[in-house]
């Protein structure tokens, strides 16, 4: 259920669009931002608010790369794997992150702090490899720089209490 406060904020957002449907993506993004991911309950809330079938909104939620229907970690790492970053070693960065956080691409660390997902070219190709963590862009990545960004410079692995894979 949306609270009256949530409803008021969504009303403001909706006023910028010529139709209710056109506001769908912004409503879903807003719910995700405030609730972490798009749970079934959030999808029902959005459908109720917009007066659209849940299935139609699910068609949107499952379409966009940055809408998450599954729970994600506190900080989502979006690592670019497009051509310029790949050529400049982004797979090495991916391997490093996977090892340090004990997860695989698409997974979340056991302590729930991080999720690693691939992202399409971030438009930052002259400083490859690049990634976004939260809302922040980082580039010219090295394993040392990644540790610093993720707060792992003390040598401990995040999620060290037991990863969900070998």
């Amino acid at each position: 259920m949306l609270t009256p406060e949530e409803r008021a904020e969504l009303d403001e957002m909706r006023s910028h669009y010529p139709t209710v449907r056109a506001a769908s993506v912004s409503v879903l993004k807003w719910l995700q931002k405030h609730r972490g991911h798009l749970s079934d309950e959030s999808m029902r809330d959005a459908a109720d608010y917009l007066g659209l079938p849940v299935a139609e909104l699910d068609g949107l939620a499952t379409f966009y790369n940055l809408l998450f229907r599954q729970p994600v970690g506190e900080r989502v790492i979006c690592l670019c794997d497009s051509i310029s970053c790949w050529m400049c070693g982004s797979d090495r960065i991916r391997e490093h992150i996977e090892n340090r956080l004990r997860l695989r691409m698409g997974g979340t660390s056991a302590d729930g702090r991080f999720t690693l997902v691939p992202v399409v070219c971030l438009g930052n190709c002259d400083r490859a490899p690049s990634m976004i963590v939260g809302d922040e862009l980082y580039d010219d990545l090295t394993p040392e720089k990644v540790d610093e960004i993720l707060g792992l410079s003390d040598g401990t692995n995040a999620g060290a209490h037991g990863g969900d894979h070998d």
């Binding site: 910028h16 669009y17 010529p18 139709t19 209710v20 449907r21 056109a22 506001a23 769908s24 993506v25 912004s26 879903l28 993004k29 139609e56 068609g59 949107l60 379409f63 966009y64 790369n65 940055l66 809408l67 979006c78 794997d81 497009s82 051509i83 310029s84 790949w86 050529m87 400049c88 070693g89 797979d91 090495r92 960065i93 391997e95 691939p118 992202v119 399409v120 070219c121 971030l122 438009g123 930052n124 190709c125 002259d126 400083r127 490859a128 490899p129 976004i132 809302d135 922040e136 862009l137 980082y138 990545l141 090295t142 720089k145 610093e148 960004i149």
Partner: protein
């Protein structure tokens, strides 16, 4: 360590910058007053004060401005397709396409974060020419700070009287709205973009009808790339002849060349359109990184064809690359060295297209995934004689049978890799896998 995206290095060479004149890496973009002091909004005053929409449209036609988003379609001609007159459909819409996701392309990031008022001014002029009272700016979510900058620029422009009702007493009304997407490459395709803006699943629409006739909400709609729109104020200020003379070959204007890959100085270069690949790589970018040889380049983002060392003297403009059966695309030039595997490049590019396929039509959804499987087999030593021929045959079947241009985009780099570097595919088959360092190493640290 995090930095604002406006810090992307711009390196100016040889010409007086046009589109990047107001952009200084590391500095916030000009506000409205600063932009006006730099000559900004003079074009709006001139056009709305002295020119009819048709005169402006003719000027842009005469300038030979071609779309910078990848297709290179003549801008003025596209505007001319919008039905006008008392019985024509209203409202008409203008959309700025800032969904920059073409791999290797980072010019719109610079323009959005570096000079948002230039985009607003370009939109006012373009909307006036096609008589559109509403404009949307479609942005990828990773450029969200750009949306803040554009919201701010729009508010400033409204306060200064350049947006809103009866702009500068001309009788022309315009409102602009940024929309931040949630990330998907196909949304950059103009019909998918319009579905996205309507809140529908962004599968592309069939064309015809073209958006200029029936687009957003079924109304006449013009979709232009951010860089294209940014050119318009300068054409109004300096004239069509001036713009045409900027080009070195048959095309007009300057071009933001985005160079990435294994060169000494990657970055964005604003240069006269029509520099050769050799000048760009070996003069402006300082040549290849030490110890590396030039093997290939992709001239305009992931959806264009590989170029070989024999093609270094080709001009990087629409006309020359069309003649070379290639495309300028976005001018996102990706430079590939002799230590990088062409099969690996192909696998990366096809994996990108497979992942970003919207899934609407079978040839694209299932076909490109199959191409990826074959390429992965080649890389991992499971290739078989005949695989190169199979790739060529299947790829040529996928593109023309797919619903939109995404699969045709995938075809270009794949077919050109097979045609221009057949020995690399053979080596992978006969040698039992990839002979190159895998995965590719990080670049040497310069600092």
């Amino acid at each position: 360590m995090g930095r604002t995206p406006a810090h992307t290095g711009v390196i100016m060479t040889e010409i007086t910058p046009v589109l990047t004149a107001n952009i200084e890496p590391g500095r916030a973009p000009l506000d409205c007053a600063g932009y006006e002091r730099a000559g900004g909004y003079a074009a709006v005053r001139k056009a709305l004060g002295e020119m009819s929409p048709d005169q402006l449209l003719d000027l842009v036609k005469e300038s030979n401005l071609r779309g910078r988003g990848g297709a290179g379609f003549p801008t003025g001609m596209k505007w001319g397709f919008v039905p006008q007159g008392d019985d024509s459909p209203n409202p008409k819409y203008l959309i700025a396409n800032g969904d920059e996701m073409e791999p290797g392309t980072f010019k719109d990031r610079l323009l959005i974060h570096g000079d948002p008022h230039q985009i607003v001014e370009g939109m006012i002029l373009s909307a006036y020419a096609v008589r559109a009272p509403v404009g949307y700016i479609f942005l990828r979510p990773e450029y969200e700070r750009g949306a803040d900058l554009l919201h701010h620029a729009i508010a400033e422009a409204e306060a200064a009287g350049y947006l809103g009702k009866n702009i500068l007493g001309s009788g022309f009304d315009l409102e602009l709205h940024p929309h931040v997407s949630a990330g998907r490459y196909i949304c950059g395709e103009e019909t998918a973009l319009m579905n996205a803006l309507e809140g529908r699943r962004p599968n592309p629409r069939s064309r015809p009808p073209y958006p200029a006739i029936s687009g957003l909400f079924g109304k006449p709609t013009i979709v232009q790339n951010i860089e294209t729109l940014s050119c318009v104020p300068h054409i109004v200020n300096n004239g069509a002849k001036w713009f045409r003379r900027l080009g070195l070959g048959d095309d007009a204007g300057t071009k933001l060349y985005c160079v990435s890959g294994k060169v000494k100085r990657p970055g964005i270069y604003e240069l006269p359109i029509g520099v050769t690949l050799r000048e760009l790589v070996f003069e402006h970018c300082g040549g290849m990184l030490d110890g590396l040889e030039f093997k290939a380049a992709i001239p305009g983002g992931a959806a264009t064809m590989l170029m070989t060392p024999e093609e270094l003297d080709t001009r990087l403009d629409f006309t020359s690359l069309d003649k070379a059966k290639n495309r300028l695309g976005t001018a996102g030039v990706i430079v590939i060295d002799d230590h990088t595997c062409i099969v690996g490049i192909s696998l990366n590019l096809q994996s990108f297209f497979a992942r970003e396929s919207c899934g609407w039509c079978t040839p694209c959804r299932d076909g490109i995934s199959w191409i990826v499987d074959i390429l992965r087999d080649l890389e991992e030593g499971r290739g078989e004689p005949g695989d190169a021929e199979l790739l060529m045959r299947e790829m040529k079947m996928i593109g023309p049978n797919a619903f939109c241009a995404l699969a045709m985009g995938a075809e270009g780099p794949m077919v050109s890799a097979l045609e221009k570097f057949p020995e690399e595919f053979e080596t992978h088959i006969s040698g039992g896998g990839c002979p190159y360092e895998r995965p590719p190493a990080l670049p040497p640290q310069s600092n």
